[in-house]
């Protein structure tokens, strides 16, 4: 039920963004369509179940987005500097990190956030280990790499998805 209603709300938001209006004659067909699609996709997308709907979780979602965007910009400046330096200062390698997150959706968000930030790219995910290709390896043991790469996002996602 929770799953169904979150899917419905997400689809309604998509519909409103697409149509860019709040008028009733647009909302009603949208609601019907969103209802049918949620019914159809309900058994498939059980990803939203772990989401917590407390005010604290909402606040942390915004903090997570903020941290993520700052990191995104920093990462880009870093990569741009490396690309434009004539000697190409890279030090690549694949490192292993551990995460404690259980929820699938949170793990996906974590992997996507890692892929989008400083010189890191998720290559493979096995149980609790993420294998990450770094453009500049600082620390190749598991704890050190986890602290560098994962912790800064994990602490927010842990609050949101438990």
């Amino acid at each position: 039920m929770k799953n169904f209603s979150i899917t419905f709300i997400v689809l309604m938001v998509v519909w409103i963004l697409l149509n860019n209006s709040f008028r009733l004659e647009i909302l009603i067909p949208g609601a019907i369509v969103a209802f049918v699609i949620s019914l159809f996709a309900c058994r498939l997308c059980n990803v939203f179940v772990d989401m917590k709907l407390t005010p604290k979780a909402f606040a942390y979602t915004f903090i997570f987005l903020g941290v993520f965007f700052i990191d995104l910009i920093k990462s880009n400046l870093d990569v741009a500097r490396r690309v434009l330096t004539p000697s190409l200062p890279i030090n690549p390698g694949i490192v292993e990190v551990k995460t404690t997150l259980k929820s699938k959706f949170a793990r996906m968000l974590l992997a996507n956030a890692i892929t989008l930030t400083p010189g890191t790219l998720t290559v493979e995910v096995k149980d609790e280990s993420f294998f990450i290709h770094c453009i500049d390896v600082q620390d190749d043991d598991i704890e050190g790499a986890s602290k560098d790469i994962v912790k800064k996002f994990e602490k927010y996602l842990e609050v949101i998805y438990g």
């Binding site: 899917t7 997400v10 689809l11 998509v14 519909w15 697409l18 149509n19 004659e25 647009i26 067909p29 369509v33 969103a34 699609i37 949620s38 159809f40 996709a41 498939l44 997308c45 059980n46 990803v47 699938k104 959706f105 793990r107 996906m108 992997a111 996507n112 998720t122 493979e124 995910v125």
Partner: protein, 229 residues
């Protein structure tokens, strides 16, 4: 008995389509949109001798971009579907990230498909394009979860019912409107809104459903043939 029935149906279609033939009169004046494209300055700006080419390639060139991508995708999917079955196939699992992401994306893609065919009268989309986007959600589903049980009867029913409704609406147009596929059976509304242009959004919706169900059915057939081998 069957033959007589077919003859009756053909005769009925003939009666329905006859007004089209009778009322036809050549129209010498261009509509507002057509005259914009046909204006001398606009044709000269493109510097093409052929007016139709100028419109299709220059003004509507972005559609071609989409079509080219669709072609690329189609080639890739044919390679996927007609490939010989290999032992490795079942064993290398999909990555978990991809599975989770497709669970989130599938409903959103379906919503976009519905938006495209419901707004067919306002935007470059339409029934066919929207249906193709719906089917691409199904492709994503087949890619992410190859072993999911698939209800092919659902697609068959959707397809036949929307086909029936489409023909039925067209026939109603012929009966109470002024011709086959006439859109004046519903209020026309004001230009530029979702619920306008009479029956066009409704007809487009059913065309979209039909195309989506058909393409999904084709994909599903490919998939099941492939797993039998």
């Amino acid at each position: 008995m069957k033959n007589i029935f077919i003859i009756i149906i053909i005769a009925a279609f003939g009666v329905m389509l006859y007004p089209l033939f009778e009322d036809f009169s050549g129209n010498d004046e261009l509509s507002e949109l057509a005259s914009f494209y046909a204006q001398k300055e606009n044709v000269e700006k493109v510097n093409s001798a052929n007016l139709v080419t100028a419109v299709v390639v220059t003004y509507r060139g972005l559609d071609t971009l989409g079509e080219v991508t669709i072609l690329f995708l189609a080639a890739a999917i044919i390679a996927f579907s007609l490939r010989k079955h290999s032992v490795e196939r079942d064993l290398r699992r999909n990555s978990e990230i991809f599975k989770t992401a497709s669970k989130v994306l599938i409903p959103i893609i379906m919503m976009v498909g519905v938006y495209i065919f419901m707004n067919g009268h306002l935007s470059p989309g339409g029934g066919f394009q929207g249906g193709a986007v719906l089917a691409s959600a199904v492709i994503l589903m087949l890619l992410a979860f190859p072993n999911i049980p698939f209800n092919s009867k659902l697609f068959a029913y959707t397809e036949s019912i929307s086909g029936l409704v489409f023909v039925g609406l067209a026939a109603i147009g012929a009966l109470i409107g002024s011709g086959y596929l006439d859109n004046a059976i519903l209020p026309l509304g004001t230009f530029g809104e979702l619920l306008s242009a009479g029956a066009i959004p409704v007809i487009y919706s059913f065309v979209g459903l039909k195309v989506g169900a058909e393409l999904s059915n084709i994909l599903n057939e490919f998939q099941s043939v492939q797993s039998d081998n």
